[in-house]
């Protein structure tokens, strides 16, 4: 079934309150994100209860704005989609309950969407998928390689065994006393430094598509500690460049190998770390020699947004995979 559909989508799994209206899973009618990062800077991280409170304050405003910009009427909305997990439970619940209330009042079907499926489908707002497809998802909470043979099916072929890539960026930034969020600062400093410090690359066992960034994090901490013990000055730019080189090399090589070995026709990248210039350049260079097209969406579609949730929901709508009234926020939801 491939009928036309217009979906109102909501995303509140972490620090963004977002709503969007998406047509046929590919066209953005509106995409509103209310960034909460200013309030988080004070705390050096995402504070869940604060996040929930902000979501409560902003959800109606964001929904109204999304509705207004899309210039649609309630009659034209076919379904209401929402991120059901994974994420912070208090934050997820705001979106889930808003979606349920609207679906109930307006008598629309409800669609629960996996946050990572959303990140993958953010790419379909840019160009049509070609299967089999490999997706690299890199963010503060995720580092995953997902193989897709058709719409709506996800095979997790690699994931982090300890810290997510974005988390490693944040924690190394903290060690280097850089402000939160640390990723952009590391990226900026990395371009001013020389990657001469031989930090480890975690390749894990032969053939593995899994990742590990905990050892690298420890190596950076040890290095900084040792330099300080000697009474020398830590060259922050060089540490940033060397750390970033390690992360980028592992992400690039594993993605490249997974793409070749699985004979994919398309590689897509998603998640907040896809904003990293070092990673974007490295992936582009690596895939340039191959015939496999690589797509990295614009930054505003890489970070959390609701347009991607609407895009993923469109597939579920076509398959008539609707959620029931017992839809709930699931902090540890698996991608299946």
């Amino acid at each position: 079934m491939n009928e036309e559909n217009i979906i109102l989508a909501i995303e509140t799994s972490c620090d963004e309150t977002a709503a969007a209206v998406i047509k046929n899973g590919t066209e953005i009618l509106s995409n509103i994100v209310s960034t909460q990062i200013d309030s988080h800077k004070r705390f050096g991280g995402v504070v869940p209860e604060i996040a929930s409170r902000h979501h409560v304050q902003q959800i109606t405003i964001v929904l109204e704005e999304a509705f207004e910009q899309a210039k649609v009427t309630w009659d034209e909305i076919d379904a209401i989609a929402v991120t059901e997990g994974p994420g912070l439970v208090g934050a997820l619940l705001i979106g889930v309950n808003a979606a349920k209330a609207l679906a109930f009042v307006k008598e629309k079907p409800l669609i629960g969407v996996h946050h990572i499926a959303g990140h993958i489908y953010a790419n379909r707002l840019q160009q049509e998928f070609e299967f089999p497809l490999l997706a690299l998802i890199v963010s503060g909470g995720h580092t995953e390689l997902v193989l897709m043979k058709e719409h709506g099916t996800y095979e997790l072929i690699g994931e982090t065994l300890d810290d997510a890539a974005g988390e490693a960026f944040d924690k190394v930034a903290r060690t280097l006393r850089l402000p939160y969020p640390g990723g952009p600062h590391i990226d900026r400093l990395a371009h001013e430094g020389i990657a001469h410090i031989p930090f480890p690359r975690a390749w894990l066992e032969k053939g593995s598509y899994d990742f590990s960034f905990s050892g690298l994090k420890s190596a950076v901490i040890n290095y900084v500690h040792n330099v300080q013990q000697r009474g020398d000055k830590v060259i922050v730019e060089d540490v940033a460049a060397s750390f970033q080189a390690s992360v980028v090399e592992v992400l690039t090589e594993k993605t490249f190998r997974a793409a070749i070995e699985n004979g994919v026709n398309q590689v897509i990248v998603a998640g907040g770390v896809a904003a990293n210039k070092g990673l974007r350049t490295s992936l582009k260079d690596r895939f340039q020699e191959t015939k496999i097209p690589l797509f990295i969406p614009p930054i505003h579609l890489c970070t959390d947004n609701a347009a991607m949730i609407g895009a993923a929901a469109s597939i579920l709508f076509n398959e008539q995979k609707f959620s029931q009234w017992d839809l709930n926020g699931k902090p540890s939801l698996l991608l299946t």
């Binding site: 209860e49 994931e159 974005g166 040890n222 500690h225 540890s332």
Partner: protein
């Protein structure tokens, strides 16, 4: 207060100690894990998970704050790293007084919300491979856990 200190020389040794402790725990036990970045808090939790026969890979809960695992007992792996300087009650009680084992990383950030009955574990960086692990028991049950750990033959 029963206190016990032990020095480990590798990640594997830290995991073995945690695995041994896992077999001495009971429903509702709360363990707090304090120590700087890179001292092995998540490694310790991986050992606990192994002892509880949890098959899934235990990954850092920093981003999601709480991760739940199913083993011989449920394991609630919590991380207060992002709650520094926050005085919010974020509803940890449901976990602390629940049916599983709670292990809390960066527990010092939520000191006022922690239950009194707990096993306090502190990891201290000695050098690249060596860590000092300090156990402090606040109850007789945890005091017994420490005594059994002292007598256990660690592989």
């Amino acid at each position: 207060m029963n206190t016990y200190e032990i020095v480990t020389h590798s990640e594997k040794e830290t995991m073995t100690i945690a695995e041994t402790i896992a077999n001495l725990l009971q429903r509702g036990d709360v363990l707090t894990l304090d120590g700087n970045l890179g001292t092995g808090k998540t490694t310790f939790t991986k050992g606990l998970a192994k002892g509880l026969q949890i098959k899934r890979a235990v990954t850092s809960p920093t981003f999601t704050i709480v991760k739940e695992y199913t083993g011989t007992l449920p394991l609630y792996h919590m991380d207060a790293y992002r709650l520094e300087n926050s005085d919010e009650d974020i509803g940890f009680d449901e976990y602390f007084y629940g049916n599983g084992i709670c292990v809390v990383e960066w527990a010092q950030f939520i000191e006022e919300y922690l239950p009194e009955n707990r096993l306090q574990i502190t990891l201290t960086f000695l050098n690249q491979d060596d860590r000092k692990i300090t156990f402090q028991a606040t109850t007789e049950h945890f005091s017994n856990v420490i005594n059994k750990l002292k007598n256990a033959k660690l592989k």
